[in-house]
Assembly symmetry: D2
Amino acid sequence: MNTFGRNLRLTTFGESHGKAMGGILDGVPGGIHLDIEAILRETERRRPGRNNLVTARNEADTPEFLSGLTDDFVTLGTPIGFIVRNTDHRSGDYSEMAKLYRPNHADFTYDRRYGLHEARGGGRASARETLNWVIGGAIARQIPCMRDIHINAKVVEIGGVRGSEEELNAVVAEAMKRGDSVGAIVECVIEGVPAGKGNPVFGKLHARLAAAMMSINAVKGFEYGDGFSAAAMYGTEHADIFTTKDGRIITETNHSGGIQGGISNGMPITFRVAFKPTPTLLQDIRTVDTEGHEALLRGRGRHDACVALRGVPVVEAMAALTICDELLV
Amino acid sequence: MNTFGRNLRLTTFGESHGKAMGGILDGVPGGIHLDIEAILRETERRRPGRNNLVTARNEADTPEFLSGLTDDFVTLGTPIGFIVRNTDHRSGDYSEMAKLYRPNHADFTYDRRYGLHEARGGGRASARETLNWVIGGAIARQIPCMRDIHINAKVVEIGGVRGSEEELNAVVAEAMKRGDSVGAIVECVIEGVPAGKGNPVFGKLHARLAAAMMSINAVKGFEYGDGFSAAAMYGTEHADIFTTKDGRIITETNHSGGIQGGISNGMPITFRVAFKPTPTLLQDIRTVDTEGHEALLRGRGRHDACVALRGVPVVEAMAALTICDELLV
Amino acid sequence: MNTFGRNLRLTTFGESHGKAMGGILDGVPGGIHLDIEAILRETERRRPGRNNLVTARNEADTPEFLSGLTDDFVTLGTPIGFIVRNTDHRSGDYSEMAKLYRPNHADFTYDRRYGLHEARGGGRASARETLNWVIGGAIARQIPCMRDIHINAKVVEIGGVRGSEEELNAVVAEAMKRGDSVGAIVECVIEGVPAGKGNPVFGKLHARLAAAMMSINAVKGFEYGDGFSAAAMYGTEHADIFTTKDGRIITETNHSGGIQGGISNGMPITFRVAFKPTPTLLQDIRTVDTEGHEALLRGRGRHDACVALRGVPVVEAMAALTICDELLV
Amino acid sequence: MNTFGRNLRLTTFGESHGKAMGGILDGVPGGIHLDIEAILRETERRRPGRNNLVTARNEADTPEFLSGLTDDFVTLGTPIGFIVRNTDHRSGDYSEMAKLYRPNHADFTYDRRYGLHEARGGGRASARETLNWVIGGAIARQIPCMRDIHINAKVVEIGGVRGSEEELNAVVAEAMKRGDSVGAIVECVIEGVPAGKGNPVFGKLHARLAAAMMSINAVKGFEYGDGFSAAAMYGTEHADIFTTKDGRIITETNHSGGIQGGISNGMPITFRVAFKPTPTLLQDIRTVDTEGHEALLRGRGRHDACVALRGVPVVEAMAALTICDELLV
């Protein structure tokens, strides 16, 4: 349940306010000189506190690599173990949560699943877990089979508003001011995947991408190609006519989103991911305690008003892990 | 790639115009007296030719059970093998497809993946494969852990139109008359799943449902709870306030769709699935042949103008296989 | 539990006296023209009744291929489904077994595991299941990556006697005359596996071979290279000195059995498999019934006095499935 | 390849002379108060340098737990991440190995598999990896389903000699004096497993135990019950007659080793594991370098003259992980 992938397997651990996050990336071929700076750039992209729109928690977020690499960062083909210490506990902020179930968080369901839940900051259900994924994804992007693959995600809609980055940020800032949070849509395009990658039936490339994206905290929906819009279309509108260009068979349009029958067709792979508004609010909110008694949860501390902002590198990382898993042989 | 599930595993085979479809359902406990009629009712629901809106192909679709059962249909705990003969080949209808790539079908991608593709009727990529799933799902629903689980799917929107069954059918009939096809949305509600089922991180219940649904032919999108609508909402609107009713903790609303942190919270699990319009059209359509030369594909034969209609029992079957897999211990 | 392999996956079903045995072989590349005669030669090698030393049950044992192949037996890359009808039920022979636990059979343990057991002939625990494996292995041997791999097994010891085929057969014949059965050792050599195949730690090549061989009915032990003899040796005796021959690094001896650290070193892979005596005897034997009451099990019907004789093609088939799984990329 | 288990999954990393060893144990239920001292006792049992028969390397071998536990060591149900720093590098001892292939080590095969090998002390192929397994096994033994399970292994034969611990130690001491090493057999008995545990066909309990044991460094053979001796027996000798004792069905003898048809029958599970002599010798030995040129490998440094001595807790740990995996639901 804490392992992702088949040929390239990322297994992770860590509670948000425990000693450390970490993971094991298994299946990386030997002899690759890793660019550590490139990995740190990715962890920096998802780091809280980069600007005034995301939570101010100060995390160093620098992984320590414990295995699988020579001293000069050449991969050995053996599993790459890494950890990131959690330096900013501030567990006091979360003290009252032990007894109250925060709405739309996983406190209640973890209690029902495991008989107890980590009171401090969401524990294993915290978005801090995605730091492990960003590290794994950043390594995946450096594996030779990924050389010509380009993965780019961006926020295209916040709170129902489409527009420039400025307009989108204004929606977040306004929600933040009210102690509220807001949902968003992230769009991702993967270019360079050759035709014929993926598998039929239960291993469809888009089903794997869906599972990867639906694993991201706060994600409520996934669509590829025309997605839900295709449900409102006629077959004649949706058809991607084949044609030949420079001796290569392509489609004139890309309603299919680069995948047909679960297998890539050589066109860009396009998909969209819906993020719900962060459940943490800076307002008081009604709830119950672990005994089922009505209670008031005080809004305080820090929060991300729009998790999708930090979700962009996470979407890319999970896309990289998924695609690399398909390309590795 | 042809196996679904972890505790309850369905492995399938069969090309649409090969000798037979079939599968092996592994993990069914011993001592269950199977209701074969209930299985046949499900296969009948997805059968083509039931009314004038779905393809007229005449398929008996009656499974022969080869193992895992006593003569009086009590399960042995061993894998249940079954086959369904393909009686209606009419391969002549598909003879020209060998050389032409049908737009939005998997002919081209299978060629790139395997070096050849089954010319007759879509082969392994045909929706006929879902017959295997419906059989598997119908057995899953009879496993004791599923006794109190109710799974109900229905078409809620066709071609952008929401309305009564009559109105929806009119959209399909109109498309059919033009030799066109049309997309649709199927909604599914699963009731009775107790709180605490599912797993965190990479085994999230909604991620498994997403992968299951995205495996269905023609599906382009999946969302649960408020889904893509949540991306346009504020946190204060989306919050599911906990309360106590009859001594049980529930939520006042169900924006979350019955799952929080990947684990069921005891509320109904709700999700929606977007089907694209069937790629097969009864109109001539431009394409290329396997050499890349421009060609015209003649529209003829039979087709489903709206695959989502037959997709309803398939959605339920995959939901049943997914939920049963989580509940089985 | 009924699936073997990772890249090449064989999933099987069938009780010995049910309607049919069968399986699905998933992962075979497309475009291979299968030699069906070669498959039948292998099933013939394991067929009962070939000579007077093995059980006289008359089984046609001819698989019907239902999918994954064109009409002229070219693989499509899709799963190959096959079944073999059980034509020789004679269930009367087994009628009394429903209530008695046969010593060293799986009747008792299946009862405890599943709450019931298939009374007729061992059900799923019958050696008839290995017919599925022989079919799977015979296909595996025809996959191009296996072109230069030679797998040869033979019985090297029966009832503690080493000697010519004639001498070994005499031991079996003598046991048979007394209504007794006898154990044996099968040795297998795999030539042609290049150096560098297999995986470290929990995916060691010899651990996979061990699991494969220990899956065969009646097998009680597995050793590779010097095996248990190595436990009585000194390091100086056991060392395989490296040397160079024709520009290729080889070892002067092969105590290691072709595998070091779980990975092939290019030398022949050698292993031995211990088969216990068949538990079915043609003598009366004490036991208990399902209620725990003492009873006498009558020795009658047919039996294999030495299952290892028919085990030889099964050992080769499981070796082929294991090696092919490692070589397929 | 670095993950063991299905319900209880241990994923490990670490090269013997890298920064740290470590692992993630996933699947441990929540709410268990771990006895850390019991874990340290197990790591102490396998620690080098305990007496003068095993290598003098000084390793602290104390795990740091990074997740999955509260501050007072109660399990959270989330994955337990742990690391053990490698404090005793002494990499100089291994400097010349970079260019020479040590006979019977994995240097050559890792080179062929990954294109390079970790020169320092065996890297990932080192027996130091088994420290991770002992930690995992020690946790497994504390899971409630293991409460009545007793696992006991011991060395029963060294260099072909059976006898008292004193006599066995004398064989090792004598080999050590000559700078040689010696093989051994470890026997293990698992008591308390109820009847009906394990699975048929490809999930047989003894096949899983075999794969677990064959994963241990230097192991060349596995047998259960009568093992290879059964190959020299007649069916009448080998029969385990059922009888009833205190209202429970048992067998009068235990030739089967507690498993029939892959499923436990309630009798003690017995198996034996053959260890080869350690390949590291304190004598000069011929070999080749990575270019294939003849060379002399100098015998020096430290070594275990008989790895089986330290293998005893490793056998128990892998048995615990295997059995717990079967018992966990």
